[in-house]
Amino acid sequence: MSKIDEELQLLHQKIVLCVTPNSEDEIDIVLSWLSPTFQPQIPTLRIKQCLKVVFERSDERARFLIEQYYLTLIRTHFFSQFDAIVNWRDMVRLERLYLSKVEFILGAPVYWIQDEIVSFKRVLMNKNIEFKKRLHAKLEAHILDNDLDRFNQLYQWLAPAFDGQEIEFNAKMINLKVDQLSQELMKNNVDDRYLVMNTYNHFIKDFWSKFYKSLITEDDHELTAIIYQSFEKNYTKYKCDEFYTKIVPQFPASRKCLLELRSILNKDIKTVGAKVLENLYHGFVSRFLTSSLLTCEILYFYIKTVKCLKIIDPMGMCLRSLSKAVRKYLNSRPDLITTLVLGIFPLHHDERIKVACVSDGNSIHFQKLEQFAKEVGDFSLGPELPTALPWFHQPHLPRCTYDGNDELLKQYLNWVPEPPRIRLDVEEPEDNDVKYVPPADLIHVLLDTLESKRALVDDLLSVVSGKFIESEEYTLDSEWQKIMNILLNHLEATRKGAVTSEEDDLTHLNDVDIMLEDLKLSSRFRNQVAHKNNAYIGSFPHVKILSKLYWRHYQSLNGRLITSKRKWNDEMKPLVDNLTSIYEVLNVGRTLKFDTGSSSRVSFNMILNSGETKSFKVTMEQYLVISHFQSEANGEVGQERHGMTTMGNHSLPDRHHTLTSLHHLTSIPKTKLLTILSFWKQKGVVLEHPEGYFGIKDET
């Protein structure tokens, strides 16, 4: 016999002694019925009669003993079932069973049985892990499904058994809802602004208004403030995760999102902000500074990242470290300069191919380069941000005004606090004391990727000088002028010592000065020529006279100066002779050496024998070659006028030429001649005969 059985037997005997004699049978029947396992649960007529007899004959003590007997029975039953109770419904069933007999005897549940049931729930929650887990899962499911009525029902059932753990539980439920809403409304959303506020409002409207009534007695503003911060924290976390997958690629569409992130980070820049920026730095390094990406791809993502960082990190804390890392990584890549040049300049596709071919352009991916060039765009870092202290510029707001001359007082009144000095862990300690000025535009960002700017500025000047030469006027078009201005600003800053200068930078500056002076003098010369109203020159207004040494356009890869010496044709010769003589008169001791190469351009109409007219704008060399194919009548006029023999020595018809005859006429090397003839063949003007000579297509 177990202890419980002994105890039950003892209680049985005590009850028998307390109740009026001759009721033993009734007592036995009643006590047997009280057992939770007794069937049927609903008392029969006999049991009801026995209950009536027993309770009529029993006093207070007897009733107390019956209660004790019943408690022992249900405790025994409860603990025998303990491991089998895994669902909330199991416990609810037992609760009903235990209460039902008491209700039948006393008409209503009494405190002792209620307390006992609460104790059972408490034990279950503390000791039955499976039950606890399933119950929590059920509550969480109701929360997540927004089924707050069922949640409330379950919560009220469980509440008395919390045993001081309700705060922890409530916090868990709130966090769950906050996380759920954050995930639903904030994650993958980079287009909307005020996302944190809207999500919070959604939380308050749909959840909190019902939730707090069931859990908390009054609306706690401190708690709601903490909930708002939780939303901000979640927002920061999501946006950090999405920074390189969504925010950076979708910029500028993601600008609103960045502005919101910035406002959150600004609240605690020293801890949260610094941590986030550090994560972003490591994210960029691990994601983009890898050998699997092309230089133009790295630069493309770098530019996009800088644009984004400029918003959330206006002080350049992360950018400073990032530029160092990018510089260190990219400077080992041989195609960096070429990629930068191709990306910075608004070159046409064929010009890009030319630049890429000059250097080692094998690793250039033109489609990705195009993407990078497009991103560099107008060099701006996007629209200006509002000032750090917007109220400072609000005239309608009350502020101290002072119109006096006391500089010290003025300075005091206009004082603006310095931004906090934050240092990321990623920074190297030796650089911490150097004052860092965040870049103002993308050209500075790109120049910053180079250990030495000399090579890039060299290339930059070379391309700009080429553009100046190609330009119809003495100025550049607006797009190129912008680049020129940026270049000048950089060089000026070098002259003033505002940026780290190299010896070569001053040479560059001098070159640019001379280039601009040349163009000014050329323009003046053109006006002087126009003033003389020369018959030959009247219709040919554009002459550029350059100081060859300072125009990188004339320098070959090994630094030598390149010149082209070709023979003029009968039409061009008087023009250049006249220009030269005027120049020599105006500039004693100096003469002109016209470039017959690719720099000089000629526009002309080609009138074919069929009557068709074609217009061309070509280089001087291309013009000189094709001009020798003019029909005989034209050639004769030229010969008579200038007394020159042009084609008379050849056995071929006048309008046909071999490579040798063209070489004699133009002094252009044969390899170059072939290129030029191939150009005209492509244009459908020149035809190569099987006999080895060339002629005009429509006349053959």
């Binding site: 030469i469 119809e472 001098n510 000065d513 001379i514 002076e517 003098l521 219709s539 040919f540 554009h542 002459v543 550029k544 006279i545 350059l546 100081s547 060859k548 040494l549 300072y550 070959s556 030598r560 100066l561 390149i562 010149t563 082209s564 010496k565 061009m572 023009l575 250049v576 120049y583 020599e584 500039n587 004693v588 001791g589 100096r590 003469t591 002109l592 050496k593 016209f594 470039d595 000089s600 351009r601 000629v602 526009s603 002309f604 109409n605 080609m606 009138i607 024998n609 001087m620 013009y623 003019q630 029909s631 009548a633 034209n634 070489h663 002094s667 090397p669 005009i696 429509d698 006349e699």
Partner: protein
């Protein structure tokens, strides 16, 4: 087929008009082969046409000038040594120059026939005169030699 030119955009570089020596002219009559001509395209400007003092090219500036050309002209010496005006003036105004060419130590004179020297002729006459005056009290063999060489006229 005929061509009607509608517009020309000419690019030219300026150069000092230095008369060629007769030896150079003879050399010019020899026709270069085509390969040589290709090479010449790149090398013709690589001749040692540099100022004998600052070693900068004639069409570059001397160290004290900003803009080449009329801003920093050159002069041709009778001894076939050419200099930037500012370089040779600075040299001639030193006591150690004694009015001599810094390269060949002959009395420095401008080539009167060269058009390039025309704007500077008078100025140099004055300068050389003052150098002469400065050198007379010093006496010595060298001054006599200079007079004999025709440096002082």
């Amino acid at each position: 087929m005929r061509i009607e030119v509608t517009g020309v955009s000419l690019v030219s570089t300026w150069a000092w008009d230095i008369p060629k020596d007769s030896s150079n002219a003879e050399h010019a009559t020899i026709q270069p082969t085509e390969v040589e001509q290709e090479e010449e395209e790149q090398e013709s400007d690589e001749d040692e046409e540099v100022c004998g003092i600052c070693r900068n090219r004639y069409d570059a500036t001397c160290p004290s000038c900003e803009y080449p050309g009329s801003g920093c002209p050159i002069v041709l010496g009778l001894c076939n040594h050419n200099f930037h005006v500012h370089c040779i003036k600075q040299w001639l105004s030193t006591e150690t120059s004694r009015g001599l060419c810094p390269l060949c130590r002959q009395g420095f004179q401008l080539r009167t026939s060269a058009l390039i020297n025309k704007p500077h002729y008078e100025e140099f006459q004055k300068l050389l005169m003052s150098v002469r005056q400065h050198n007379i009290p010093m006496g010595g063999e060298l001054d006599q030699d200079m007079m004999d060489d025709g440096f002082i006229r």
